[in-house]
Symmetry: C2
Subunit: 201 residues, 2 copies
DNA sequence: GTCTATAGGTAGATAGAC
DNA sequence: GTCTATCTACCTATAGAC
């Protein structure tokens, strides 16, 4: 493993765990098993190292999400595969959302400028249009497509962001909670579909 | 305004904005328009000052939420009033969730010990039992009550936690986004109710 | 109670030997 | 490229005058 990779891996771990402000260059160096001076040789300063980590985390997520947003599935299938794929990513990386959310709230303008001008930026437009079209055709009930998308994302991500709270309320340890999240995939997609499909009464 | 209150108000603002690690005692003193030494006279150290702020934020939220969890409304009304009241609290304090979530993730054990042994701890048991009973009576479709509660909380809170992201995707400024959140109250409660009510087909 | 001054410690960053 | 040593700045916390 190359030095630069070792540094990135260590930095990723520390930054995700502690956030930018509380992370220490010394701790990153220790974890990478190199000297502190060498950090500055590869990444001029803390900011640059952080940016590298942040962008890597972002690029790990964004394309996989957008692939689904932009797929050609019928609506219900798209919702199912969105929830499935999104929660799989989260189960693989349960701590990244906390990290991204905290840091984007620290510097919202910077976040918007760097992320939202990126080719991989989150882009649910195609899904929104699709929902609108299904509403017009009468295939699903009337619903604001923007709110629907927010509902979908919220139900997937929030349980990972607030995991200590939910684990404590539900009295689950880490493993049990992750199993519960596995089951949740099915629950969430059927929760959404049940809400929007038309009912005869 | 008493000195102690001035300090608490200033500390609250700074801690919520920057988080514990990035907050500076000097900045708090400046905002409170007092001297830095005086901070340590009233609150022995940064930790103690932080705890005071954190607990205040927590006690502002928890009882109002629990009041609804434990109310005697029929289920659908309870869901509506939960979403309404919860999102009103969030609209009044849009930055507190980010703050609480970040800090509870920093020290999960401490959070659980201090918060979850508190009389005001989040307690959705009564709602969970109520959902279970309505399922058994056949008044709503079969659903895991725990997942339902998580869905409710997630859809209310997450849009405030991830506001920079959503504002940017939806191209809304702060005011427009808050108006959008006002409208959201109705959308979320009907989204939930539509999902769980029984359908004849 | 409120201030000033400063101690004491720590973090990011640089210089320079190898 | 990698290390050690050190500089400089900053931050929390305390001491002590008023």
């Amino acid at each position: 493993m190359e030095t630069e990779e070792k540094i990135l891996a260590a930095a990723k771990e520390i930054f995700i765990q502690k956030g930018y402000a509380a992370a220490r260059m010394q701790e990153i160096a220790d974890k990478a098993e190199i000297n502190k001076g060498l950090l500055h040789y590869y990444f001029k300063n803390k900011d640059k190292l952080f940016s590298a980590v942040f962008m890597e985390a972002f690029h790990k997520f964004a394309p996989r999400i957008n692939k689904i947003f932009e797929s050609d599935f019928p609506l219900f299938e798209k919702i199912e595969s969105f929830v499935d794929e999104y929660m799989d990513i989260l189960l693989e990386n349960p701590n990244i959302p906390k990290f991204v959310i905290h840091e984007m709230n620290q510097k919202p303008e910077e976040f918007i400028n760097t992320i939202m001008n990126n080719k991989d930026r989150p882009n649910p437009m195609k899904l929104i249009v699709q929902v609108q079209s299904e509403v017009q055709k009468g295939n699903i009930r009337e619903i604001n497509p923007l709110q629907l998308v927010i509902n979908m994302i919220s139900m997937c991500v929030f349980p990972f962001v607030a995991s200590p709270l939910f684990k404590s309320i539900l009295q689950m340890d880490k493993t049990t909670y992750l199993q519960f999240m596995q089951l949740r995939k099915k629950e969430v997609s059927s929760f959404i579909i049940e809400s929007i499909r038309v009912k005869n009464e």
